[in-house]
Subunit: 444 residues, 2 copies
Amino acid sequence: MNKTTLPPKGLFLNIKTTAETINILHKHFAPIVQGIESIPILEANNRVLAQDVYSQEDIPNFNRSTMDGYSLNARDTFGASANMPAYLNIAGDVLMGEATSLSLKSGEAARIPTGGMLPENANAVVMIEHTHEIDSKTLEVQKPVGIWENTVRIGQDIKKQGILFAKGRLLRAYEIGALAAIGQTRADVYQRLKVGIISTGDEIVPAHALPNIGQVRDINSFIIGSKLLELGAVPEFYGIVQDKADLIHDAVLACVEQNDVVLICGGSSVGTRDFVVDTLSSMGEVLVHGVAMRPGKPTIVAQIDGKPVIGLPGHPASTTIVFLILVQPLLAHLQNTTLSQGYLSAVTSRNIPSHPGREDYVRVKIKSIQSNAKCMMQDAGLQILNKEFEIATPIFSPDTKYLAEPVFGPSGLIHPIFEANGLIKIPIDCEGLNKGEETRVMLI
Amino acid sequence: MNKTTLPPKGLFLNIKTTAETINILHKHFAPIVQGIESIPILEANNRVLAQDVYSQEDIPNFNRSTMDGYSLNARDTFGASANMPAYLNIAGDVLMGEATSLSLKSGEAARIPTGGMLPENANAVVMIEHTHEIDSKTLEVQKPVGIWENTVRIGQDIKKQGILFAKGRLLRAYEIGALAAIGQTRADVYQRLKVGIISTGDEIVPAHALPNIGQVRDINSFIIGSKLLELGAVPEFYGIVQDKADLIHDAVLACVEQNDVVLICGGSSVGTRDFVVDTLSSMGEVLVHGVAMRPGKPTIVAQIDGKPVIGLPGHPASTTIVFLILVQPLLAHLQNTTLSQGYLSAVTSRNIPSHPGREDYVRVKIKSIQSNAKCMMQDAGLQILNKEFEIATPIFSPDTKYLAEPVFGPSGLIHPIFEANGLIKIPIDCEGLNKGEETRVMLI
């Protein structure tokens, strides 16, 4: 370690594209479906269902009105109009939240609130707007209703014994609401993935330390750790390991034993890279060494004891992109679910050149630009407010266009990482994007 | 409470558009900047900075190489080419992670790894690919480098005493990495907003209860509670309050005292709506009663003791949309930050009619459709893989197009809530969207 070893040219042994790499990861590592835990549904946002969920009940469990109005038999309104209203007898009131014992005879109606239960023999609700109470006993109906109009029938929403959600479903607030609806206040979900993080590099010191000249703080552990927490995984930190083959070996061994996935954030020194690939090779199988992407070329994918071990490049900017492009989908796959990832269409603010033979990932800053679509033009009030809120709170308008402004900077800088909120991909055989070209931006 | 009271026609007293409502909320309620707490940065994802952050150091604190190669004085390479290389003396090695004591004389170079510190009098790095070591003392340089090429200079990334982040910045994993870079392992953030949730409605029973005929479970508390947790707020549950003015009064009073924001998820019964608006009116000022949106018309915005109290409609589907459109931006505003919201451009799968005079919010299911753009066509390998991964793991490709398929269903159903993953807005004076029209979809 007392001499600078510069690498031979053409360092990578087994270069793959990102698509090939994801394919290899999927093929070699099956979803981890053994560990299941039961948790309160309020804690289950962003977790993945481990069991199919069936409803034990019909939802609703009664024929329900969706309007304020009058429940009746639709036939009694057929042909009714403002000029030729139908007249019905008001048989009584349906009360909110209670089973009604009313049973309608032909020509009868009952007052009903939204959410109320239809009486026996009622098969529709006429909205209050289309009626007039002549007196407390007599209803005038000015419009016909169809059978089951303005109602939800028993089991129409969720069927008893029917499957509500299949395992592998990523739970959002909406699925959690549906579980509450069927009375299921706990959910069986897969255990969080444990992801071990090893930082390597002789120049790396902990974040709380004061670096000497020539040293830099460990940023990767924090970016990756924070991202893992965001994704619902549990980061386990194995600290900074010096560039010595036996130390790296021991750290990887412990990490593989105790985690589902191992991430090695490589120091940017050449020595580190070599140690890592040699060590992984001696402990298991190196599946990918080098990915045809920029940044991210030095990425390593290995399999040790059936677990994925991924060597990420040293620069935080590169590590972040490889994490987003390769590790995120792997984590979703291992949780037996699909990745939920937001994208946005934007036009490029300038030419973005690229070299064929690799995928280029370019950080961008997304800015909204003046809308000119027809619906907005008519909506003058909103347009003015839109301007006012442009920075404070962008109002949701369907026609807003976006500009993607590349954030360039020398390799190894931190600035471009936090200045960007999007990522553009330039495919492997594409020579770049022209200014004004529309492209998809991954929201990061 | 033993009679069904049907409402008068034209129920709403103070109807506003969504933009006007957001404007009113912003004007009446200032960001809450008093409560500040210091937390470890790893726990700070999705929290908002409460203090400006300055760096106490230059990052980097030394002139750093961004390449493996040779540090030298750029002038010594001027004019060099493959045919006419420059020859320099190799003065030594820069070691990774250490300050170098080397000082280069004219015509000298030092081996340097990526991340290494430039020796005194070096002002550039030539990449190893453009060099050849004739012997251990002699370097051949085949390409000139510019001054400071392949380097990052002292303070170029983050300047000492310079502001890194202003208060109000929403912290993501990337900002957390930058805080680690300057050695700040704790962050001062605004306290989480406390949001009290009251459910009302005589027909509502708790999620764990078995509803009688005519009753439904409290879903809103779970959807809203889960969304609040997702946004970094703290939901406080005040249970289900019966439709009695004094009970609602007491619940709102307690809720206002103990929280920053109060949300009342209205029962869908007419009685409840009236109680709520009358009660809020007697306790403070009703700012908005009725919003020109569908769903969501019965929304109420009030101010009690300087705090926002928002009455949401009873149907979970409506409550959810009003929360997304009006409450989310309010929460961001109260945290002194901007809302981070993902959108996606998609084409509609069918005509979506709308009535002028209100904004229509239509739930959609987003599907990706076959790409046909030029870059993708060339990238045949990726295209095949794309097909394979279409469902399991969509590979990030810049040209994927999306289809937005409306999820319709009678009012009050739960199904459309969890089947959708997007929301389309049809502006107030627009008569709808045509099939195939491109529109912006809010990711929900």
